[in-house]
């Protein structure tokens, strides 16, 4: 058993790190528990010459942990949408295509920093309408808060991480200047901007937590395109670099790595009193605190709450209304792999330096209610191996010639749409157990009619963008139709004003458990119409942690 902390934060990713930072800054003694290790740049493959044959150490750890975390349930594919099947020169080369959708693929990083270790720095504020989808669009639910309430927290997180962007984005609410000016557009983005213009759209600089200028302890980005493999120079605002060191400097943060929380213990009143779990050697451990923040992501957080059933919470903590785990939202995405007619050195630059928000739904118009964001990146075609396999067909002399002509000309057109919440898409507990005997999460992520329409629409839009950008050749397509890629996943402990339809209130407090806060993607009510969720998770975590600290100051926790 450890000493009692004021607050125990479980999970050191985007939300947990911000919560811990906010709490120690307000004088709390915080214990931060992380199941993975703490990585250093030497663990990354970013600059390894044959990086395409290797995985960063956090990717290996994450893959191993994922097997001990959840099981995905495969679902039947709808043959009416066969055009949406993924097909690429290698990985999706086989015909006929598969009949079942692959089981859920939870693409999250494990370790201090969580998924910010591999995120590509996108730092989006959700559009204002995303908080009022029921009122304005008649779909999903409204959030219990509005954009204006979150805006000050967005701004503070942007300052902490060092976000660069262009404040003159007509599709976003008016705002102050970003901490840093936008990065210059890559050659590929400039090319796609021409295509967007032909369609009447505007390709704009992306807002990213990536430094264009050095700041203390962190170097400026040098556009190596390696963000997803781990930033070697600290230019990317992953929380292990941009947040946790500052929290540690207060002397009030104790970080424990290699500890897996399996459940929370509650007292007779239903209040959380301890986090129970196992250390890296498999020894049971128990950490006491006056309050708890759960920030282990949209799969692990409901798993922990459901595995905590007993006593005052016979169906799991916060689950009196059978809401924990419901409304899982994954990432609806579509990609088109293509070549320009000549190399533009698409391997250089920021991975996601631009976006098109015209279809984000800010105007209230659009063919699908979800809203979507389009853009370009190099993706799998970044390195010669990826290009040889997925940028070109076959082998032999013709393939050689193709490599000579088209490497550096490869591009992925990308579209992300929001998946609207469905109560039937959910996390429950599996019959299978991990090595400690703790039930895994069982994930059911089924596409529904509106999802197919959104995917078809995405494919159509990125196809139009590719044509307008005058690509020389389209070589493949991949989409969430048959290839889930739950990079952005949320909603499984959503916030709300009514405890019958939500798990936490507007400050992330679990209904009926006032000293327990959820501060991760689980609380998202909607997904921001295709925007990336990390900045919203962080702003919500900051807001929730400060409210918790204030209640503690008043002696209410």
């Amino acid at each position: 058993m450890s000493e009692t902390a004021d607050v125990c934060v479980v999970g050191s990713g985007a939300g947990g790190a911000l919560a811990a930072w906010a709490l120690v800054k307000r004088g709390a003694r915080v214990l931060l528990l992380e199941v993975g290790p703490r990585f250093v740049p030497a663990d990354y493959t970013t600059y390894v010459p044959d990086w395409e044959l290797q995985r960063s150490r956090f990717a290996e750890v994450s893959a191993a942990k994922a097997r001990e975390s959840y099981e995905g349930r495969a679902t039947q594919l709808d043959p009416a949408y066969a055009d949406l099947h993924s097909r690429t020169p290698s990985f999706y080369a086989r015909r006929p295509a598969r009949r079942r959708r692959r089981s859920f693929f939870y693409n999250h990083a494990i370790g201090v920093g969580g998924s910010t270790l591999h995120y590509q720095g996108e730092a989006h504020r959700f559009p204002a309408h995303a908080f009022r989808m029921r009122s304005e669009r008649g779909v999903a639910e409204d959030w219990p808060i509005r954009y204006a309430e979150l805006a000050p927290f967005y701004a503070r997180v942007e300052a902490l991480l060092g976000v660069a962007g262009d404040p003159e984005n007509p599709f976003k609410p008016a705002r102050e200047a970003y901490p840093y000016p936008a990065h210059p557009l890559s050659a590929a983005s400039q090319r796609v901007a021409e295509g967007a213009r032909r369609l009447g759209w505007r390709l704009l600089p992306n807002s990213v937590a990536i430094l264009p200028r050095a700041r203390p302890g962190r170097a400026a980005c040098h556009y190596c395109n390696g963000c997803a493999r781990g930033c070697m120079v600290g230019a990317k605002g992953s929380v292990d670099v941009a947040v946790i060191p500052e929290a540690e400097a207060t002397g009030r943060l104790r970080l424990v790595t290699g500890f897996q929380v399996s459940r929370l213990q509650t007292d007779a009143d239903g209040r959380a009193v301890a986090a129970l779990g196992f250390d890296a050697e498999g020894r049971e451990g128990r950490h006491l605190a006056r309050a708890f923040v759960l920030a282990t992501g949209a799969i692990e957080t409901p798993r922990i709450l459901l595995n905590s059933a007993g006593g005052a919470h016979p169906h799991g903590i916060g689950n009196a209304e059978d809401q924990v785990g419901r409304n899982l939202m994954e990432t609806l995405y579509a990609k088109l792999l293509a070549h320009f007619e000549r190399p533009l050195d698409t391997w250089a630059g920021l991975p996601l330096d631009s976006r098109i928000w015209d279809l984000n739904g800010a105007s209230g118009e659009g063919e699908v209610p979800n809203g979507m964001v389009l853009g370009q990146g190099v993706g799998v075609l970044e390195g010669p191996v990826g290009h040889a396999l997925e940028g070109l067909e076959g082998y032999g002399a013709e393939h050689r010639e193709g490599m000579r002509k088209s490497f550096g000309a490869g591009i992925e057109f990308l579209g992300i749409a929001e998946q609207l919440p469905q109560p039937e898409n959910r996390v429950t507990l599996s019959q299978r157990k991990d090595r400690f005997g703790v039930p895994l999460a069982s994930v059911l992520a089924r596409l529904r009619e509106g999802d197919f329409e959104a995917l078809a629409h995405l494919h159509g839009q990125i196809g139009a963008l590719a044509d307008a950008s005058r690509v020389a050749q389209v070589v493949g397509q991949v989409s969430a139709f048959d290839t889930p890629n739950a990079t952005h996943v949320g909603g499984t402990c959503r916030m709300g004003s009514d405890r019958k339809t939500s798990v936490v209130d507007a400050h992330g407090r679990v209904w009926g458990v006032p000293n327990l806060v959820v501060a991760d993607a689980s609380v998202l009510v909607t997904q921001g119409a295709g925007d990336s969720p990390s900045l919203t998770i962080q702003a919500l975590a900051l807001r929730a942690a400060e409210e918790l600290a204030e209640r503690a100051r008043r002696g209410e926790v």
Binding site: D50, P216, V233, G234, P384, V385, R400
Partner: protein, 193 residues
């Protein structure tokens, strides 16, 4: 595979008069250096793995190298697949994945045998047209059938892995015009005050 075993195997075949294997033997014994700028030291000795039998048995090496050169032939001054230390690179790649290792152990001998039966590599340089036709059949089989077939799957795996190791190598990166992941000197952080 030990160097001694390989040399014994190659020398034995070279003595049989096979032009192809004589060429292979010359390379292993140091009599041949690939021409061109981006070539690397040729070595057919797989990376030593404790307790691991070689994935490519000596009697299948010639077949492997011939197929590899169909997949990545020489182009101008840029070396072919067999000229870039291919076998140890392939062994390392395959051994990094238990699933891939299992697949090769199961399928590679069958594929090598099938090729040897159809286009006898060990009896001289195979007819390039005949070999190309055979590989096209494998390739098509993988792409156009639901399960791919044993030979189709085996060839597809080899195709991908030869492309992987070739284009991850300095020679492959140079051919593609890739400067590597490390674009210039690293930027420095601002000093903490």
């Amino acid at each position: 595979m030990t160097r001694r075993r390989l040399l014994v195997a190659l020398a034995a075949v070279a003595a049989s008069g096979s032009a192809l294997l004589a060429w292979l033997a010359r390379r292993v014994l140091g009599g041949h250096e690939p021409q061109g700028q981006a070539s690397e030291t040729a070595s057919l000795e797989p990376a030593p793995e404790p307790g691991g039998e070689p994935i490519f048995a000596p009697e299948t090496l010639a077949t492997l190298l011939v197929i590899a050169d169909v997949i990545v032939p020489r182009s101008g001054n840029s070396p072919a697949a067999s000229e870039i230390d291919l076998v140890p690179r392939l062994e390392r790649l395959i051994r990094s994945s238990p699933a891939a290792l299992k697949t090769y152990r199961k399928r590679w001998p069958t594929l090598a045998k099938n090729i040897q039966e159809k286009v006898p590599v060990l009896e001289g340089r195979p007819d390039p047209a005949e070999l190309a036709r055979l590989l096209r059949i494998y390739h098509r089989r993988f792409r156009r059938t639901r399960r791919g077939g044993k030979l189709g799957n085996a060839f597809e795996q080899l195709r991908r892995d030869v492309l992987r190791v070739y284009y991850a190598s300095p020679a492959g990166q140079a051919f593609a015009g890739y400067p590597g992941p490390h674009h210039g000197p690293l930027p420095q952080p601002e000093q903490r005050t």
